[in-house]
C-alpha cells in the first residue's frame, strides 16, 4: 500500500467519525401543527405527569450575594447537572450532580430531605411553601410550568419544532404583556403528548438567554423511586432544621406583615405564615423578604461594593440582567426588606417606599 493510500484511509476514517454525528444532529425536527393556545393548555395541565430524566441548566446571572444566599448564586450563575425522578409535586427526587459528589433533594411523605455526599450529611426539614429558588426549580418541566402556568393564550406564539432529548417537540414563545417586567420573552419547547416542557430559555434585554435549562434524556415511564421517607446512610450526620432557608425562616418567624398589593402587583396566595410577600403573575414577580440585621448587614456591604450599585435614601439597588435586588436601610425598629424580582430599579424603589408605610409590624 502506498503512503498516499494509507493517509487517505486514515483521512476518510477521521472524516466519517466527524461527519456522521454532525449529519445526524443536523437532520431537521418534524414540525407539528399544534396551535400555541393548545400547547399552552397542555403545559398548564401537565402537573400530574410522571417522568424521569437528566437535564442541564445554565445560568448567566452573577448575583452579588453573601454566603447565606450562596446556593442561589450558584443556581442562577453556573452550570447545573440534574437527575430527576418525578412522581408528583409531593413525591420527587432531584440530584444536583457534581464532579466529585452530589447534593440531592428528596421530597417524600416525611417532608424534604437534603443529602450532601461530600459532607456525609442529611438535613430534614418541612417543605416550606415560601422559600428561595432551589435546584429542583431548574428542572425544565418545573421551570416551564412556573413560567407558563399563568400565561394567557394571547401572550404566546408558536416557534419551530426542535429536537430535544431525542424528541421532535414544537416551540412556544411567551411575550409577557405586563409593562413592569424586565423579562423580554421566554422560549419553551413542549412535548405535545404529555405537555412536559423539555427546554426553557429565558431572555432579558439581550440576545442570549439569561437562564436556560434542557432535558438531555427523558422517560415518561413511572419513575423508579422508593416509597416512604429517605433513610440516612450509616455514619451520616443527621440534622433536623426548622426552616429550609433564610426566606422560609423569615416567613415563619419575622414579626411583620407586608401589604396585599405592592406597586400595583397583587400578593400571591400562599400557605406560608405570611411575613414574606410574593407579588405578581407569571414571569413578573417581586418578593419582599424581611431580614434580620445579622443577615442584612453583610448583604448590604456586599451589594454596596458591587459595580453599578446605587445607594439611595430608599436603600441599595443592584440589577443583574433582568433581576433587580434592593435592600432597604437599617433603621431602628423597622425591618430590613430585601426586594428581589424581575422588575426595574424604579419599580423596586417604589416598592420600598410603599413598604415603608404599608408593612405592618406585629407587637
Amino acid at each position: 500500500m502506498t503512503p498516499q493510500r494509507r493517509w487517505f484511509l486514515v483521512g476518510v476514517g477521521v472524516l466519517l467519525l466527524i461527519a456522521i454525528p454532525v449529519a445526524v444532529r443536523s437532520l431537521p425536527a418534524t414540525e407539528s401543527d399544534v396551535t400555541a393556545a393548545d400547547l399552552l393548555a397542555k403545559v398548564q395541565a401537565s402537573g400530574s405527569v410522571r417522568y424521569s430524566g437528566y437535564a442541564e441548566a445554565v445560568g448567566g446571572l452573577q448575583l452579588p450575594v453573601t454566603d447565606r444566599f450562596s446556593d442561589l448564586a450558584t443556581l442562577l450563575g453556573e452550570r447545573t447537572r440534574l437527575r430527576v425522578w418525578w412522581r408528583s409535586p409531593e413525591s420527587w427526587r432531584v440530584d444536583a450532580i457534581g464532579l466529585t459528589g452530589e447534593t440531592d433533594l428528596i421530597r417524600d411523605l416525611g417532608g424534604l430531605a437534603t443529602w450532601e455526599y461530600e459532607a456525609a450529611r442529611v438535613t430534614f426539614t418541612a417543605d416550606a411553601p415560601v422559600r428561595l429558588p432551589r435546584t429542583a426549580d431548574l428542572v425544565p418541566a418545573v421551570l416551564g410550568r412556573q413560567l407558563l402556568g399563568e400565561a394567557e393564550s394571547d401572550e404566546v406564539a408558536r416557534l419551530p419544532a426542535e429536537r430535544v432529548a431525542g424528541r421532535d417537540v414544537p416551540g412556544l414563545r411567551l411575550t409577557p404583556r405586563d409593562p413592569q417586567t424586565t423579562i423580554d420573552h421566554v422560549d419553551a419547547w413542549v412535548d405535545p403528548q404529555t405537555g412536559l416542557v423539555l427546554r426553557v430559555e429565558v431572555y432579558g434585554a439581550g440576545t442570549s438567554p439569561v437562564m436556560s435549562t434542557s432535558f438531555r434524556s427523558l422517560s415518561t415511564e413511572a419513575p423508579a423511586l422508593s416509597e416512604g421517607t429517605f433513610t440516612p446512610p450509616p455514619g451520616a450526620e443527621v440534622r433536623v432544621e426548622e426552616a429550609v432557608d433564610i426566606a422560609a425562616a423569615a416567613d415563619q418567624f419575622a414579626p411583620v406583615r407586608p401589604p396585599g398589593t405592592l406597586v400595583g402587583l397583587d400578593r400571591r396566595p400562599s400557605e406560608g405564615v405570611g411575613a414574606v410577600g410574593d407579588y405578581g403573575r407569571g414571569v413578573t414577580r417581586l418578593v419582599a423578604i424581611p431580614l434580620w440585621d445579622d443577615a442584612a448587614d453583610p448583604l448590604r456591604d456586599q451589594l454596596e461594593t458591587t459595580p453599578g450599585a446605587r445607594v439611595g435614601r430608599r436603600g441599595t439597588v443592584v440589577t443583574v440582567g433582568p433581576l433587580g435586588l434592593m435592600l432597604t436601610p437599617n433603621r431602628f425598629e423597622t425591618p430590613n426588606w430585601l426586594l428581589a424580582g424581575t422588575v426595574s430599579r424604579q419599580t423596586l424603589a417604589r416598592a420600598a417606599a410603599e413598604l415603608e408605610g404599608a408593612a405592618r409590624v406585629l407587637q
Binding site: 503512503p3 494509507r6 486514515v10 450532580i97 464532579l99 466529585t100 456525609a120 440516612p232 450509616p234
Partner: protein
Amino acid sequence: MIVVELVKMLRRPRTWVTIGMLNALPTLVAVLLALTDLGPRPGTGPAFLSAVLTDGTLFPLAALAIVLPFLLPIAVAVFSGDAIAGEAAAGTLRYMVIRPVGRTTLLVAKLVSVIAFVLLAVLVVAATAYVMGTLLLGDQTGATTSVSGTSLSATQISGRTALSIGYVVLSMLGVAAIALFLSTVTDSSLGAALGALGVLVASSLLFTLDAAAALQPYLPTRYWLSFVDLFRDPILWRDVVRGVVLQGVYVAVFLGASWANFTTKDITS
C-alpha cells in the same frame, strides 16, 4: 515480538520506578489522612477523599482520582512517547525494522506494551491504595454508602471498582495513542511526551472556559473523572458511555495516524 516487548517493559527499572512514584502520592495522602483525620472541604478535594475517612476500602478510588489528573497521564505520555522515538534516539530502530518483522507488527507490539504498562500501573495503584486504605483508615463493616446516599453491597462495590479501573485504563489509552503517534513523528522521546502533555494541558484549560463550551464534549480529558458516576445509584451511564466512545475515537484516529506514518517513514537512526 509482543512477548519480547512485554518482557523488555517488565525488566526495565524505569517501569517500576515510575509505578513506585505513582504510588508515593496516594500513600502520603493516606498517611496524612490517618494522622490528621482531616478531609477536604466539600467540593474542593479529589473524589472520594472525604468518604475514605470512614471507609478505607474506598481509598483505591480516591487514589485513582488523585493520580488521574496529572501523575498518571505524565507517566503514560513519557512511556508511550519513548516507544518508537526512544528506539530511534538509541539508534536501535533501524536494526529492529531490518529484522523479518513488519513495521505494523512492531507498532502493535509497542502498543501492547504500552497497554500492559497502563494496566499494570493502574492495578498497582489500586491494590496499594486498598492495602493502605484498609490498614490506615479502617474497614467499614457492612454496606458502603453510594454517592447518592444509598447502600451498596461489597459485591456491588467490587464490581464498580473493577469497572472504574477499566475506565481509567481506557482513558489513559487516549493519551498513549497521542504520544505513540508523536513518537513516530519525532526521534526525540522527550518531544513526543511533551507534545502529548501539551495536548492534555490545552484540553484541561479549554474544559474550564465557558467560551469553549462547543468544543468541550470532544476534549480528551473531558470525561476522565466520570468514573465517579459508576458510584451513583442508579449508575449514571451517560458520561461513562461518552467517555468510552470518545477515548475509542482518539485511540482509533491516532493509532491509524501512527500506522500511516510509521509504516512509510524513512528510518535514519
